[in-house]
């Protein structure tokens, strides 16, 4: 057997020089995610919806608080979507340009979803990881607090808050954020309990790494996979909650609006023939939901290939 010595020497030289870049588990997961067609389609849909929500104002011929008095009153006849008068998505019964209004509503809905989720992720992850890692009595007390908060009817509290402190977008954010982290904390705590007994955590404890560093460096990165999946599935939940509250008429205040409020308005005026006032926000609502669910499914498959 002959071995190409020159080639072998080159191989060994190339192995020895330069630092090899490792492929992290995140990089592997990204690769798997990119192979998932539905998930990538979800990302593309979400990017398009977000672009519309944040850049739609620059394209729109009207602003969201403009009322087209020329069309108001006979929107069913002259307010249909058209390129010629600049109302690309039509005009609703109140004379609002659906293109501008839907862009603004989608923006609010996305923001509610994302802010609620960000609060849930940060508070829930830290709370759950600390509770699970501390264990014993601390864990018991922290989890009972979560149980008590969870037993309070969520929707009732938000509605009460909005009624007491007035309808404002920040109150809505606060209400949703306050309650969204509870389930996240439970999930994270459960994961932490199983991570806690891993040998690498023991190794860190044996060498004297302080508890907060163990939580941040060893526990949290290893449960971010679960958190990411749960978070993407939480966003549509938050949007749904906000839509429901807005549908009840307690959400954001006019002239601001949200997808839920728009769908509610559209449904009320459907009988007058302005069906586009319902269909347009509904379309963006459904597309956003689907996008988030697809991404969530894709993330779950990518981050935990064993469970497929």
């Amino acid at each position: 057997m002959t071995i190409d010595t020159i080639k072998m020497r080159r191989l060994s030289e190339s192995l020895a020089e330069g630092e090899v870049r490792g492929r992290s588990l995140w990089a592997d997961a990204r690769k798997r995610f990119m192979k998932n067609k539905a998930a990538v389609a979800g990302v593309i849909m979400l990017v398009l919806v977000t672009a519309y929500a944040f850049l739609g104002d620059y394209v729109a011929a009207y602003t969201y608080d403009f009322k087209d008095f020329a069309i108001m009153g006979h929107a069913a006849e002259t307010g249909a979507p058209s390129w010629s008068n600049g109302h690309y998505f039509g005009v609703d019964n109140d004379g609002r340009d659906m293109f501008a209004v839907t862009a603004q509503g989608t923006r609010i809905s996305l923001m509610v979803g994302i802010v609620g989720t960000v609060i849930a992720v940060i508070v829930g992850t830290i709370y759950g990881a600390v509770s699970g890692y501390a264990g014993g009595r601390t864990d018991g007390i922290m989890m009972r607090i979560v149980d008590i908060l969870l037993s309070i009817p969520f929707m009732f509290v938000i509605i009460l808050l909005l009624v007491m402190f007035g309808r404002s977008i920040s109150m809505l954010f606060a209400g949703i954020g306050l309650l969204s982290w509870l389930n996240m904390a439970r999930i994270v705590r459960g994961q932490t309990l199983s991570l806690k007994n891993k040998e690498y955590i023991e190794a860190a404890r044996a060498t004297g790494v302080p508890a907060w560093k163990i939580i941040l460096r060893h526990v949290v990165p290893n449960l971010l996979g679960i958190v990411a999946v749960y978070a993407t599935l939480l966003v549509p939940d938050m949007i749904l909650t906000e839509s429901f509250i807005s549908f009840l008429g307690l959400g954001v205040q006019a002239p601001m609006t949200s997808l839920g409020a728009l769908i509610s308005d559209g449904a009320k005026t459907m009988q007058y023939g302005t069906i586009w006032a319902l269909l347009v926000p509904l379309f963006f609502f459904v597309v956003t939901m689907f996008a988030f669910y697809f991404i969530g499914d894709g993330l779950r498959d990518a981050l935990d290939p064993k469970d497929r």
């Binding site: 490792g22 040998e199 023991e202 860190a204 004297g208």
Partner: protein, 342 residues
């Protein structure tokens, strides 16, 4: 080896007792006590390797973990500077954690999958020497990687990109980076296959010689322990059965439990293996929740007499100590033959 005037670690009456509460117990019912380690004494000199053997659940790992306060233990474990490690607060213990490092059983599970091996090895260094600069840390990690026989340019790779043996080398590098005086190896090779075991064992022995480390080497593989240890301690149900210099213990086991253990070691020669006389042990390891009275081994001992049930045998002897009422060589068996093959 000349005896230094002061042992590195002297353990006196180390006990680890877990309290167990059953589901549905009333708060006032007394908890059941599990004596994982009950009254172990030993000393360890600098540069010496103490092998600890015994079957599963006899308290080997618990004993090691108690020394570094991973599980609460009572008694004394006096470090070479005179401090009792078991009495230290967790803050005061931190200083000694750099001196006592540990290598774990499952190589892959002991490395955080989300961190590069460079970060993993640097962690103890950053914990104990927070003032070190980034470049200095990197340099030391690279030196350490080369010392354990890995390429220094692999520093940015992740644990899952390495084999079991390489992962164990990373685990050893992590333990040695802070320059410990005592290395506790908790079954470091039992998860590896035989050829890799030999590599890792030889690496450990080389490093020990170069760095003057003392080691506590826990294993259930007697041939591995014989190869690496200066002295061997046999544990049964949390108690020391026999301690002796490695060669002496294998050549001349005095305790019936040690003899049974040694007879169970397979010999890689079918003829000798068939001719060998096995000393079968009857029954199961008794529950540490209710250990037998007197000698804990009496329920399975071929030599048990009435006195074994009533009196606890004390560990007697200097270099070769045995805790048995009827110690002695095994009659009528060609011990030499068995031992040669181990």
């Amino acid at each position: 080896m000349t005896k230094p005037d002061r042992p590195l670690l002297s353990v006196d009456d180390l006990r680890v007792t877990f309290t167990l509460r059953r589901e549905g117990d009333m708060p006032w019912t007394p908890p059941r006590l599990l004596h994982a380690v009950s009254g172990v004494d030993f000393t360890l000199n600098p540069g010496e390797t103490l092998g600890i053997v015994g079957e599963s659940g006899c308290g080997k790992s618990t004993l090691a973990r108690a020394l570094i306060q991973m599980v609460p233990g009572t008694g004394h474990a006096v470090w070479t500077d005179g401090t009792d490690l078991l009495s230290l607060s967790s803050r005061a213990m931190l200083k000694y954690r750099a001196d006592i490092q540990m290598v774990f059983q499952d190589p892959l599970a002991s490395l955080n999958p989300r961190m590069t091996i460079g970060q993993i090895i640097a962690e103890p260094l950053k914990t104990h020497h927070p003032g070190l600069g980034r470049d200095e840390v990197k340099k030391r990690v690279k030196d350490m990687l080369e010392k354990v026989g890995l390429l220094a340019n692999q520093i940015n790779r992740y644990p899952h990109e390495f084999s079991g043996g390489q992962c164990q080398r990373i685990g050893i590098a992590r333990a040695l980076i802070v320059g410990p005086k005592l290395l506790i190896c908790d079954e470091p090779v039992s998860a590896l296959d035989v050829s890799i075991q030999a590599q890792v064992i030889n690496l450990l022995m080389d490093l020990q010689r170069d760095l003057g480390l003392a080691m506590i080497f826990i294993a259930h593989d007697l041939s591995v322990v014989k190869h690496i240890s200066d002295r061997v301690m046999v544990l049964y149900l949390g108690k020391v059965m026999e301690v002796a210099p490695s060669r002496e213990l294998y050549a001349n086991p005095q305790h019936p439990y040690t003899q049974a253990l040694l007879s169970a070691v397979p010999i890689p020669d079918p003829v000798a293996e068939r001719a060998k006389k096995m000393i079968p042990l009857e029954g199961e390891l008794p529950s540490p929740l209710s250990p037998p009275s007197g000698c804990v081994f009496r329920t399975r001992c071929p030599r048990a007499q009435a006195v074994c049930a009533s009196e606890v045998p004390v560990l007697k002897g200097e270099a070769h100590a045995v805790a048995c009422h009827f110690p002695g060589r095994l009659e009528g068996v060609e011990r030499a033959e068995v031992v040669e093959a181990v």
